[in-house]
C-alpha cells in the first residue's frame, strides 16, 4: 500500500520539474498552477469537495449529501468506508494519511475532508 502512494507521489514530482512540490496549489493533480491567492484556493476547494462528494454518493446508499452532514455519527458510513475514503483521497490528491492525521475532525464531513486535503497539500486556511 505504501509503495503505491510513493509511486503516485513520484509521478507528481515528475510533473513538477521546478521542484516547487509543496507550494500552494502546485501538488493537486488536475488543478491549474498559479500564484497563491484566495480565488485559486476557492477553486481548489470546490473541485475537491465535489470530487469527494461524488465518490461518497457512488459508494454509500444516500442520494444527497450536504457539506456539513456528519458522515459517521449519522450511521451512513461504516468502518470499511472509512478506509475506502482515506484511500480515495490518498490516490486522488497524492497525499498519505498517517498516524498524526487520525483525527475524526479531518473526516467528519465533506467540508472537514476538503479542508484536510487542502491542508495536506499546503494550502493555508483562507
Amino acid at each position: 500500500m505504501n509503495s503505491a502512494v510513493q509511486t503516485t507521489r513520484s509521478n507528481v514530482a515528475d510533473e513538477d520539474p521546478a521542484g516547487k512540490g509543496n507550494e500552494e496549489g502546485s501538488r493537486i493533480p488536475g488543478l491549474p498552477r498559479s500564484p497563491s491567492g484566495k480565488s485559486m484556493r476557492t477553486e481548489a476547494e470546490k473541485e475537491i469537495r465535489e470530487t469527494v462528494r461524488d465518490f461518497i454518493l457512488r459508494s454509500i446508499s444516500i442520494t444527497k449529501l450536504d457539506d456539513d452532514d456528519n458522515l459517521f455519527e449519522s450511521g451512513i458510513a461504516n468502518s470499511l468506508f472509512a478506509v475506502q475514503l482515506m484511500t480515495f483521497i490518498e490516490k486522488s490528491y497524492a497525499i498519505e494519511v498517517g498516524m498524526d492525521d487520525l483525527d475524526i475532525e479531518n473526516f467528519r464531513s465533506l467540508n472537514a475532508t476538503t479542508a484536510f486535503v487542502l491542508k495536506k497539500n499546503g494550502w493555508r486556511n483562507g
Binding site: 446508499s61 468502518s79 470499511l80 478506509v83 484511500t87 498517517g98 487520525l102
Partner: protein, 403 residues
C-alpha cells in the same frame, strides 16, 4: 514404479500448465519469482507438510528458512529491511506456499497483518524499532484480536487497557490467535476508556501467558494459542495509531492484508486439489479405462479447473488494485477471499471424492487440504461476514439502501 512416477509427473505438469491464465498478466520478473517460489515449496515444504500437520508444529528451521529467503518481510520497504516486492508478487508467494502448506502460509499471513498495519499507522519511532526485525524474520508478529466472546462481533471485545503515567496496564484474554505459540510480539486490540486501541505487546512481558491450542481440525501446525494478559505493563509508546481508531483504521488495514494472503493461499490449495485430481484421473484405471474417461469425474474436474482460473484472476485483480492503490481494492479483496476460500472447500471435497478411500487417509495431501480449506472460510472474516459486507456494497452502489 519408474514409469508410474514418470506418468504421474507428466500429468501434474500438464495440470500445472492449466494455471497459465495468469501468464499474460505477469511481468517477466513476477513470473520468474513465481517459479522460484514453486521450486522452494517443492523442495522445502511439500515433502514435509504432512509431518508438520501430524506433529502440530512447524520446525524453527523452516521459519528461519522463510526469513533467510526474505519472504517474511517481502512487502516491507527496503528502508526497513524488507524486499519491497509488489503485492502481485506477495500474492504469488502466498499462492505457491498455499499449494504446499496452509499452516506455513499462515505465518506469512499474520506477519503481513502486523507489519502492514504498523507500516501504515505506526509512528516513525515505532517503525524504526519494530519493522526491521519483523522484515528480517528475526521476530514473528501475531494479530491478537479475537476473544472467546468476540469474533465477528469484535466491537464487544472485553480486553482493556488502563492508563497509568507513561504506561498502560493490560488485562484480558485472546483466543484462536495464529502463530501465538512462537510470536515474539502481539498487536493487541482492546479498549482504553471505552475507545478501541491497538498496542504492541512483547511476548516476554511479565503477566503475559500463552496457552497452546491443540487438536484443531485444520491449520494444525499454525501455532494457534490463547493469550492471557494479567496486569501486563505496556509502555504508552507502544500504542499504534490513536485511541478510537483501532477498529476503524488499524484493524482494517491488517485484516485487508490478511485477506489478500488468505485468498491467494486458498487459490494455491485449489491448485493442489486440481493437480492431484487430474493426475489421479489420468493414472487410475477403472475397468478398461482411466478415471478421467468417466463423465462424473470430468464434471468434478471441470468445476475445479474453472474455479482455479476464476480464483486466480480474482486474486490478481485484488493484488493489482492494491499496487495501484485503488479505493475499490477492499471490495476486490473481499471478493477474492470469499470466492477462493469457498472454491477451495468444494475442490478439496471433490478431490477426496475422486481419490476415494485413499483420499481419506492421512498419507494423502488432499485429506489435509480438506481440513485446511474449511479454516479459510472462517479466518479474516467468515464467509457470511463477507456476504454481508459485499452484499451491502453492491446494493449501496446502486442506491438501493441496506442500512
Amino acid at each position: 514404479m519408474g514409469d508410474l512416477h514418470g506418468a504421474w509427473s507428466a500429468a501434474v505438469t500438464q495440470a500445472t500448465g492449466r494455471n497459465s491464465c495468469m501468464r499474460h498478466l505477469l511481468t517477466d520478473e513476477q513470473e520468474r519469482r513465481h517459479k522460484d517460489f514453486k521450486a522452494f515449496v517443492a523442495l522445502n515444504v511439500e515433502p514435509f507438510a504432512g509431518q508438520w500437520d501430524r506433529e502440530q508444529r512447524i520446525p524453527d528451521a523452516v521459519i528461519a528458512l522463510l526469513a533467510k529467503s526474505g519472504y517474511l518481510g517481502c512487502s516491507l520497504p527496503p528502508q526497513y529491511g524488507g524486499q519491497g516486492w509488489d503485492t502481485v508478487t506477495f500474492g504469488l508467494l502466498n499462492e505457491a506456499l498455499g499449494r504446499g502448506s496452509s499452516a506455513l502460509t499462515g505465518v506469512l499471513t499474520v506477519q503481513a497483518m502486523v507489519s502492514m498495519a504498523l507500516l501504515k499507522w505506526g509512528s516513525n519511532e515505532q517503525k524504526e524499532k519494530w519493522l526491521p526485525p519483523l522484515a528480517r524474520g528475526e521476530m514473528i508478529g501475531a494479530f491478537a484480536m479475537t476473544e472467546p466472546g468476540a469474533g465477528s462481533d469484535i466491537q464487544s471485545m472485553a480486553t482493556g487497557f488502563t492508563s497509568e503515567g507513561d504506561h498502560f496496564i493490560l488485562n484480558g484474554h485472546k483466543k484462536w490467535i495464529s502463530c501465538a505459540q512462537f510470536a515474539a510480539v502481539f498487536l493487541v486490540f482492546g479498549k482504553l476508556d471505552q475507545r478501541p486501541v491497538a498496542c504492541l505487546v512483547p511476548r516476554d512481558s511479565p503477566g503475559l501467558r500463552v496457552e497452546p491450542i491443540d487438536d484443531l481440525m485444520g491449520f494444525r501446525a499454525a501455532g494457534l494459542a490463547e493469550v492471557h494478559f494479567n496486569d501486563v505493563e505496556v509502555p504508552s509508546a507502544n500504542l499504534v495509531g490513536k485511541p478510537g481508531f483501532a477498529l476503524s483504521h488499524v484493524a482494517p488495514v491488517g485484516l485487508h492484508h490478511g485477506r489478500i494472503s488468505t485468498a491467494c493461499s486458498a487459490a494455491g490449495l485449489l491448485r493442489g486439489c486440481f493437480e492431484d485430481s487430474v493426475a489421479h484421473a489420468a493414472m487410475r484405471k477403472i475397468g478398461d479405462k482411466s478415471a478421467g474417461g468417466i463423465g462424473m469425474i470430468r464434471s468434478l474436474i471441470a468445476r475445479m479447473g474453472t474455479d482455479l482460473e476464476a480464483g486466480s484472476l480474482l486474486c490478481h485483480n485484488a493484488c493489482h488494485a492494491e499496487d495501484e492503490h485503488f479505493p475499490e481494492v477492499f471490495e476486490k479483496t473481499l471478493m477474492a477471499k470469499y470466492f477462493t476460500s469457498r472454491a477451495a472447500v468444494q475442490a478439496a471435497s471433490d478431490a477426496v471424492q475422486i481419490r476415494g478411500a485413499s483420499g481419506c487417509h492421512g498419507s494423502s495431501a488432499v485429506s489435509r487440504y480438506y481440513r485446511d480449506a474449511k479454516i479459510m472460510e472462517i479466518i479474516e472474516g467468515t464467509t457470511q461476514i463477507h456476504e454481508d459486507i459485499l452484499g451491502k456494497i453492491f446494493v449501496d452502489q446502486v442506491g438501493g439502501g441496506g442500512k
